[in-house]
C-alpha cells in the first residue's frame, strides 16, 4: 500500500462536516482529516444565501467559520473535488476534481482514497418536479451560493422583475423574500392549501400568508404549475393546473430537498430516503458514518425514521459522528424538527410535533390578535411534544428544553401559556440542571 489509510475522511464541507471536525479535534489532536468538498469555496453558511441574494449581507459575511478554520483544525481540505462513489468493501472513495463550470473532468483525474473511518455529509439536493420547461434558461434552484450568484446575474442581466417561486416551504419563502427585497414582483405557488405546511398549523399559516401579502408577495395555494412557458429557450411565464397563465421572467424551484445518497446507492450501506444511521450516526457498515441532510435517523417524538433536514440537527449529528469516529462515545437520541423562520418580519418558531392534533394529543393555544401573536403547545402523556410560537418567540427555548428532556409538565400546565413561565416555575431538579449549565452528554 502506497499511502497510509486516511484516519478520518469526510465527504461534504458544510454544517455536519464542521460539527464532526470540531468534535474529532476535541479528542484527537492530530489524526489525519481529509475533507472533500464539491463546491470550490471556504465553508459557508447555506441559510445565508437568501440574505446574500437580498443584498442584506455581503460576501465577507458568508463564512461559517473563520478563514483559518482548516489550518487550525489541521484539515486537509480538498475543495472543488467531488466524491463519485463509496466502496464500503474496499473502504475507498473515488474522487475527482470538478472544473470551474461544475462539470467533472475526465475520469483520468479520478483517484481512490482509502479510509479508516468515513463520514458522508453530502447534504441534500433540491427536488425539481418534472414540470415541462424546467430546463429553460431562467429556471433556478435555491440551495447553494452559486444558485444565489446565478440568480443575481440573471436579474441584473435581464432586468428580471417578475418571479414565480414554486413551493411555499422554508426555502421558497426565503427566496421570495429576497427577490422581493431586490424589488421583484413575486408569486409563490404552493401545492398544499397553505404556506409552510410542515411546520405551521392552519392558523399560524394564515398569519404567515398575511405577512407575505403585506410585504407585497402574491400567493397561490392549493394549485400546481403545469408548465413553464418558454420562448427562445428562456422562461416567459407559467401555466397553472386550471389553465390560467401568468407571465414571469424567472422561476425558482423550491419544492423541497431530498437526501442526496447517490454516491452510496447499490452498496452495502443501507439507504431509505436518506442514508440510514443509528443514534451514533453510524450507517449499516461499521466505521462509516453519515450526518446532516443526507442522513435518516429516528425522530424521537414520532418514533419514525426520517430525514430531519435542519441546521442544528446537521451540526449535532455530525458532532456525534465525529466523537464516535475518534473513539469517543456519543449518541443522539433527541432528534426532532426545530425551525425558526422569519416570514417578512413575522417571527415563527415551530418545534417537534407542532401541528399535531386529535388522538392522544392535547392542544393548548393562546392568541392576541392586536399584537399578532399566537402560541400553540401540544402535549402527550403529560409531556410537551410540540410548540408553535408566532409573533412573540421570547424564551421559546424553555419549551424546547422541556420537550428534549421529556419533562412531565402536568403540575405546571396552567402556567405554560400564562406568560408567567420561567425557569423558576420548572421542577427543581430540572431547573438546577439547566442553571448549572452542565453538559448533557454529547
Amino acid at each position: 500500500m502506497k499511502n497510509a489509510d486516511i484516519r478520518y475522511l469526510i465527504l461534504g464541507n458544510s454544517t455536519a462536516a464542521v460539527g464532526a471536525i470540531e468534535a474529532i479535534r476535541k479528542i484527537d489532536a492530530d489524526g489525519a482529516i481529509v475533507l472533500i468538498g464539491r463546491e470550490p469555496r471556504h465553508v459557508y453558511s447555506r441559510p445565508l444565501i437568501s440574505y446574500l441574494l437580498a443584498g442584506e449581507i455581503d460576501e465577507s459575511r458568508m463564512d461559517y467559520r473563520p478563514r483559518d478554520f482548516y489550518a487550525r483544525h489541521q484539515v486537509d481540505a480538498r475543495l472543488g473535488v467531488r466524491a463519485l462513489r463509496v466502496d464500503p468493501r474496499l473502504r475507498t472513495v473515488r474522487v475527482t476534481p470538478v472544473s470551474a463550470d461544475g462539470s467533472e473532468r475526465n475520469d483520468a483525474t479520478a483517484e481512490e482514497l482509502r479510509f479508516e473511518t468515513l463520514l458522508i455529509a453530502t447534504g441534500g439536493a433540491p427536488v425539481v418536479p418534472p414540470i415541462e420547461g424546467r430546463d429553460a434558461s431562467g429556471v433556478f434552484t435555491f440551495a447553494t451560493w452559486d444558485d444565489a450568484d446565478r440568480l443575481t446575474a440573471w436579474i441584473e442581466k435581464r432586468n428580471a422583475q417578475h418571479a414565480v417561486v414554486v413551493g411555499g416551504g422554508l426555502i421558497g419563502i426565503k427566496a421570495a423574500e429576497a427577490l422581493r427585497a431586490r424589488g421583484a414582483r413575486v408569486l409563490i405557488v404552493e401545492r398544499e392549501d397553505r404556506v409552510l405546511p410542515l411546520g405551521l398549523d392552519r392558523h399560524a399559516s394564515s398569519m404567515a400568508a398575511t405577512a407575505l401579502r403585506d410585504a407585497g408577495v402574491d400567493l397561490e395555494c392549493g394549485t400546481i404549475i403545469e408548465r413553464i412557458v418558454v420562448a427562445d429557450g428562456v422562461v416567459s411565464g407559467v401555466t397553472f393546473h386550471n389553465g390560467r397563465e401568468s407571465s414571469c421572467d424567472l422561476v425558482v424551484m423550491a419544492a423541497g430537498v431530498a437526501p442526496d445518497a447517490s454516491i452510496v446507492h447499490g452498496t452495502a450501506i443501507r439507504v431509505d430516503h436518506g442514508v440510514l444511521v443509528d443514534a451514533r450516526s453510524e450507517t449499516s457498515v461499521p466505521g462509516i458514518y453519515a450526518a446532516g441532510d443526507v442522513a435518516q435517523g429516528i425522530d424521537s417524538l414520532s418514533g419514525a425514521s426520517r430525514p430531519i433536514p435542519i441546521f442544528p440537527h446537521a451540526y449535532r449529528q455530525g458532532a456525534v459522528a465525529g466523537t464516535n469516529m475518534a473513539g469517543g462515545q456519543a449518541t443522539f437520541n433527541d432528534a426532532f424538527a426545530q425551525n425558526a423562520v422569519d416570514v417578512c418580519g413575522l417571527s415563527t418558531i415551530s418545534i417537534g410535533l407542532a401541528t399535531a392534533e386529535g388522538g392522544d394529543f392535547e392542544v393548548l393555544t393562546t392568541e392576541d390578535q392586536t399584537a399578532r401573536t399566537y402560541k400553540r403547545v401540544v402535549l402527550r402523556d403529560g409531556r410537551i411534544v410540540g410548540a408553535l410560537f408566532v409573533g412573540d418567540i421570547d424564551r421559546v427555548g424553555i419549551f424546547t428544553g422541556l420537550i428534549r428532556e421529556k419533562i412531565d409538565v402536568t403540575s405546571f400546565k396552567h402556567l405554560l401559556l400564562s406568560g408567567r413561565l420561567g425557569l423558576i416555575t420548572l421542577p427543581e431538579g430540572y431547573r438546577r440542571r439547566v442553571v448549572s449549565g452542565e453538559a448533557v452528554a454529547v
Partner: protein, 145 residues
C-alpha cells in the same frame, strides 16, 4: 471556567443586577442617561425571576454543551477561545433566532435596537461581571464549580 451562580436563598429580588447590566451594556454607561434615554435600545442580559417568595437572577449559563452555538446558522455564536464564554458576534448575527429556539434557559433575547441576538457576555474584559459586583446581598457569585 468561572460562571455566575445565583444563590436563591440570598436573593432579595431588588433587580440591581438588571440595572447594572443594562448600564454596563448601554452606550452612555451612565445610570440616569441609560434609563431615561436608552430604554428602547439597551436591555439587560440578566433577568430576575420571581415566584412567590423565591427569586433569583438568571443570565446565559455559558453551557459546556451549548445548543445555541450548534444551532447558529452564521457562526456568530461562538465560544471565546480564551475565556470559554459563549459570545455572540453581533457583526455576523442576522437575527434568525435559532439560538432563542434552542436555549433551555431562555437566556437569549432579541436585541432591542438591532435585529441581533442579545445575551450575557460575562462583562468581557472585567474581572467580575457587574451583576455580581453590585449584588448587595451576595446572591450572585462568580466562581469555578
Amino acid at each position: 471556567m468561572k460562571r455566575i451562580f445565583a444563590r436563591e436563598e440570598y436573593c432579595l429580588g431588588c433587580r440591581l443586577c438588571e440595572i447594572h447590566c443594562l448600564v454596563k451594556h448601554s452606550k452612555s454607561k451612565r445610570i440616569i442617561k441609560a434609563f431615561r434615554r436608552e430604554q428602547d435600545t439597551a436591555a439587560p442580559a440578566c433577568r430576575v425571576e420571581e415566584s412567590g417568595r423565591v427569586s433569583f437572577a438568571l443570565q446565559c449559563r455559558h453551557c459546556e454543551d451549548a445548543r445555541c452555538i450548534e444551532a447558529c446558522i452564521t457562526g456568530a455564536m461562538h465560544r471565546d477561545p480564551t475565556t470559554g464564554a459563549v459570545i455572540c458576534d453581533t457583526e455576523r448575527c442576522v437575527g434568525c433566532w435559532s439560538c432563542i429556539m434552542v436555549c433551555p434557559a431562555g437566556a437569549v433575547e432579541r436585541g432591542r435596537s438591532r435585529q441581533v441576538a442579545s445575551k450575557c457576555d460575562l462583562c468581557m474584559g472585567e474581572d467580575t461581571p457587574v451583576c455580581v459586583m453590585h449584588c448587595p446581598n451576595e446572591a450572585l457569585v462568580y466562581e469555578e464549580r
